[in-house]
Symmetry: C2
């Protein structure tokens, strides 16, 4: 009897842990990671506070799990779906478009988890800040690395500084979040799409320009 | 006797109110505006909590005073000193440089007050959010208006969209703050200066290019 009930029980426990983390990410978009209260979270998940504590002993443990979940979601929604594009400019551009699409989707749920959490933890110390720095730094490096690939494929000009380009492209993602969340201006996403495309075009060789034009044509075909 | 002591006393009271607000702005850079505690603030100012309450009845009142003080400081350090430049591109570029200089100066004090406060209040409602929206929106509009002036002076090309340009320039200021505060990368300010300059150059007419070159030459003369 004991053995039979063990497996499903474990799955249910796994499910509630999952549900807690997902709710924590959602709450943190508006309340922040420090603003996360076990009381609000328990209410959202439909669980007692004691039930929560069975999964997470401390707030920091919960915060770290939320950062980890948000990173996984970012990989799944932003980086993963771009892997079908060729290495270099096409994959870079698709990933940036996926990023903006993800930000746009979260527009009415409080916006970007990482943006909110970064502003909160940038002046602090400790493992949560460290996890956020790692996530942000890796994303910026990922953009720079794809730009390098595009340079070596002669899609971007050889004099392009990949780190500087990544810095500027990344700025437009952050800005989309600020303008849409703070000023409630929904044109932000289109503005950032346009800014990223024009910035990339200004670094493109003829080969690169053809890649972007081709992707634009395909997109317009798909989304009339 | 009563009358004689009245004036200095009032000045001292004015001074402590000022000191409280300045300390509140400083604390909010790292702790956030919601993270502002009367206890920490009292300690920083060297005053009792009761003393603080004599000046600010509620946290919101204090938060609003802090936003107001930060706006005044922004006007004084960023916009004011650029008024000696000619209307249009020169004034726009000088103001952007002042902005980055101000961000760089606050680098070790927790970074930009508005950045931290925006991320905190973007999902909330109420007068503090409203004050932040107004400050952020006016700054963005100010940039766009100067860009309009530069277009009408044929320093920027007629096809330049001033709102889009303001959006992109503003993004590089925000990015400088994120990269320096979160990733602790001090190259952020130079990266943003370079990004802003190149972006403006890509919109410049020959007249505009001469304005930027002239300013660059003067700057290099001043700051060897």
């Amino acid at each position: 009897m004991h053995n039979i009930s063990k497996k499903p029980r474990k799955r249910i426990e796994g499910d509630s842990r999952e549900r807690i983390i997902i709710s924590a990410v959602e709450l943190a978009r508006t309340a922040g990671l420090e603003g996360l209260s076990f009381a609000d979270l328990a209410k959202k998940v439909g669980m007692s506070k004691a039930g929560l504590f069975a999964h997470f002993k401390t707030k920091e443990e919960l915060q770290l799990a939320a950062v980890d979940a948000a990173r996984k979601r970012f990989l799944l929604e932003v980086i993963g779906p771009a892997q079908s594009e060729s290495l270099g400019l096409a994959r870079l551009y698709r990933t940036l478009l996926n990023w903006l699409a993800m930000l746009e989707k979260s527009c009415h749920q409080g916006g970007c988890f990482f943006y909110a959490a970064s502003a909160e933890f940038d002046g602090r110390k400790g493992p949560v800040r460290q996890a956020l720095v790692e996530a942000g730094g890796l994303w910026l490096e990922w953009i720079a690395r794809q730009a390098e690939q595009a340079i070596s494929r002669e899609q971007l000009r050889t004099e392009t500084n990949s780190e500087q380009l990544a810095y500027e492209l990344h700025a437009f993602g952050q800005q989309a979040n600020w303008v849409s969340q703070m000023l409630r201006d929904p044109r932000a996403y289109d503005r950032s799409r346009s800014a990223m495309r024009n910035l990339l075009l200004s670094h493109c060789t003829d080969t690169g320009r053809a890649v972007l034009d081709q992707m634009q044509a395909t997109n317009e075909g798909h989304e009339p």
